[in-house]
């Protein structure tokens, strides 16, 4: 690590402080030789002298920063955090800080940034459960939809037309998983946490924010409904979406299919997800 010779006297200590929060080997290096660590970052001798007695406090800052981030990840991704376990999650946060660190000023959005960074790594790591990235994606779906600035838009009041795209509530998301990571409903309708890992089973979940209760609702979709929704969310006209969905599934577009999809679209309309044909 060589300091930037053009850095101002004010910039140097700020950068060193941020590095203490983020660099992976900072705890070990600072513990071993704080003055040397500061010198390597260009901190002036008089500033090094002031900082030198505060090795423990500098690392307390780091602990507080990392703990806060870990806390919000645990809050939004509790099942994922439980699968990882505290030591592994602590390590993941440390590597996340070193490689990227949060960019969002919105604290609630940190789990999404963390997940976008972590999911590809988790998918590639044989030692981790294969469903972990799907599970985390599904857990984050709730926070994502609950807080989405979009949603609740007025309906276009235009009848559905085959040559037009449809208007969907802005909070609507479709997620596809290789594992059944969603919690099944119990007898009372509330989700239950089943014993054992999720089954390997292609799964599609439509999520939206209810326009009256403002709660997140999840629908498990059939392959046909998922194929249609994927295309509608991409902005395809209704007819193109229906035709494309059949092609995706290598299925005939017959009366049974059309009747089934008509029923599905009617259900989305009653739920306030489908708001009519798009005006533009």
């Amino acid at each position: 690590m060589s300091p930037d010779p053009k850095a101002s006297s004010e910039e140097v200590p700020l950068r060193a402080f941020a590095a203490a929060m983020c660099e992976l080997d900072a705890p070990a290096s600072i513990t071993a030789d704080l003055p040397g660590w500061l010198e390597a970052r260009g901190v002036a001798p008089e500033d090094r002298e002031v900082l030198a007695p505060h090795r423990a406090r500098l690392l307390i800052y780091r602990t507080m920063v990392h703990s806060r981030l870990r806390g919000v990840v645990e809050e939004y991704l509790p099942r994922t955090a439980a699968v990882l376990g505290k030591p592994r999650l602590r390590g993941e946060i440390a590597v996340f800080m070193a490689e990227q660190a949060p960019r969002t000023v919105y604290f609630r959005d940190i789990p999404g940034e963390f997940l976008a960074w972590a999911a590809p790594r988790w998918r590639d790591e044989p030692g981790l459960p294969p469903y972990l990235a799907d599970l985390a994606t599904h857990e984050w779906l709730n926070g994502e939809v609950a807080n989405d600035p979009l949603g609740g838009e007025p309906a276009s009041d235009l009848p559905l037309a085959l040559d037009r795209p449809v208007q969907l509530d802005g909070s609507t998301r479709l997620r596809r998983y290789a594992f059944a990571v969603q919690l099944p409903p119990g007898d009372d309708g509330h989700p239950i946490d089943p014993p054992g890992p999720p089954a390997a089973m292609p799964t599609a979940i439509l999520a939206y924010r209810d326009r009256e209760t403002l709660r997140v609702r999840l629908l498990e979709l059939t392959p046909r409904a998922a194929a249609l929704c994927t295309r509608l969310l991409a902005g395809e006209a209704l007819q193109a979406a229906l035709t494309g969905a059949c092609a995706d599934l290598d299925a005939p577009m017959n009366d049974e299919f059309l009747a089934s999809m008509a029923g599905f679209l009617a259900d989305l309309g009653e739920r306030g997800v489908l708001l009519g044909a798009r005006a533009d």
């Binding site: 006297s9 004010e10 910039e11 200590p13 700020l14 950068r15 402080f17 941020a18 929060m21 983020c22 901190v43 002036a44 008089e46 500033d47 002298e49 002031v50 900082l51 505060h54 423990a56 406090r57 500098l58 307390i60 800052y61 507080m64 920063v65 806060r68 981030l69 660190a101 949060p102 960019r103 969002t104 000023v105 919105y106 604290f107 609630r108 940190i110 609950a146 807080n147 989405d148 600035p149 979009l150 949603g151 609740g152 909070s171 924010r209 403002l214 709660r215």
Partner: protein, 294 residues
């Protein structure tokens, strides 16, 4: 309870609106007991769902004061225009007090686009004061409203101080021509951790620029480091009560925020602690009036 001063500015001891009890506030459980609520815009702006509707209902019943967490006034990089594009209309919408000011912290929050979500210290130098003052002015211009800045608690001095913290704050306030949100708990925490007299510290800052106060509880990190952390997770200590009273006797009625952000107790406990602080505040105002009379 006197709840507002001139120009409809709320006075007395208010609370930070937190998610753990916002539904109870919405349901009326604090009606008539809290003169104002303070919110952090970053927790509410660019957000849909239940939160905005609830905030609008609460703002219909209580004055709302805004206090940001993410401006990084001490940061090195230019301000994020998107953040200000979100913040400005949010403040215009939510400000129902005509306090007009928006506050944030004298700290930096990361470098190179990081948002570390902590209030990190800045060097106490004249150059730093000048640079941050220019950023405070820029923030006020971008928001088209006055800024107030808050003194933070810091556990490590960021290099050799060229001037002391009161001189740093005074220089910055004068150059930025802005107001001070004085956190008396932070003064106490810093005094304990860095070994200075908090009242001497307070006597050196321009109290005429104080528009709002913060008080909070704090906790020891552990026995080995003998370090107090500004956790906002405990009742306010009597020493901090005394500092609060000392300042109120000198600045008069202002909004005082009681912060409790971690290990938040049940609402009745929170309200009881607020009531206790309100009595400290009221007693200080009485002493101030008596001193004026005599």
């Amino acid at each position: 309870m006197r709840s507002s001063g001139p120009d409809n500015i709320p006075t007395g001891v208010g609370l930070g609106l937190r998610g753990s009890f916002a539904a109870q506030i919405d349901a009326g459980e604090a009606d008539g007991r809290v003169p104002f609520f303070e919110i952090s815009p970053e927790n509410h702006m660019r957000r849909g769902g239940a939160g905005p509707a609830r905030l609008a209902r609460i703002a219909g019943r209580f004055p709302i004061v805004t206090h940001g967490l993410a401006m990084s006034l001490g940061g090195l990089e230019p301000f994020d225009p998107e953040y200000f594009a979100q913040l400005r209309p949010f403040l215009d919408r939510v400000d129902n007090t005509r306090t007009r000011w928006h506050s944030d912290h004298l700290c930096f929050c990361g470098v190179d686009g990081q948002a570390l979500h902590d209030l990190l210290p800045v060097p106490f130098t004249a150059a730093s004061a000048r640079r941050i003052a220019a950023r405070v002015r820029e923030a006020a211009d971008r928001l088209e409203r006055p800024m107030a800045v808050e003194n933070i608690s810091y556990y490590v001095p960021l290099g050799k101080p060229v001037i002391d913290e009161p001189e740093f704050i005074t220089e910055l306030l004068e150059r930025a021509d802005c107001s001070l949100l004085l956190d008396v708990n932070n003064v106490f925490v810093n005094a304990q951790n860095h070994g200075f007299d908090p009242q001497q510290w307070l006597a050196k800052i321009p109290l005429e620029r104080v528009v709002q106060l913060h008080v909070a509880g704090h906790e020891f990190w552990d026995d080995s480091e003998n370090l107090i952390i500004d956790t906002h997770g405990a009742p306010v200590r009597t020493e901090v009560d005394a500092l609060l009273a000392w300042v109120i006797e000198r600045v008069g009625p202002v909004p005082v925020l009681f912060e409790w952000d971690s290990n938040i107790p049940e609402l009745p406990v929170l309200l009881a602690e607020r009531d206790r602080l309100q009595s400290v505040y009221d007693a200080a105002l009485i002493r101030r009036s008596a001193a004026d009379v005599t």
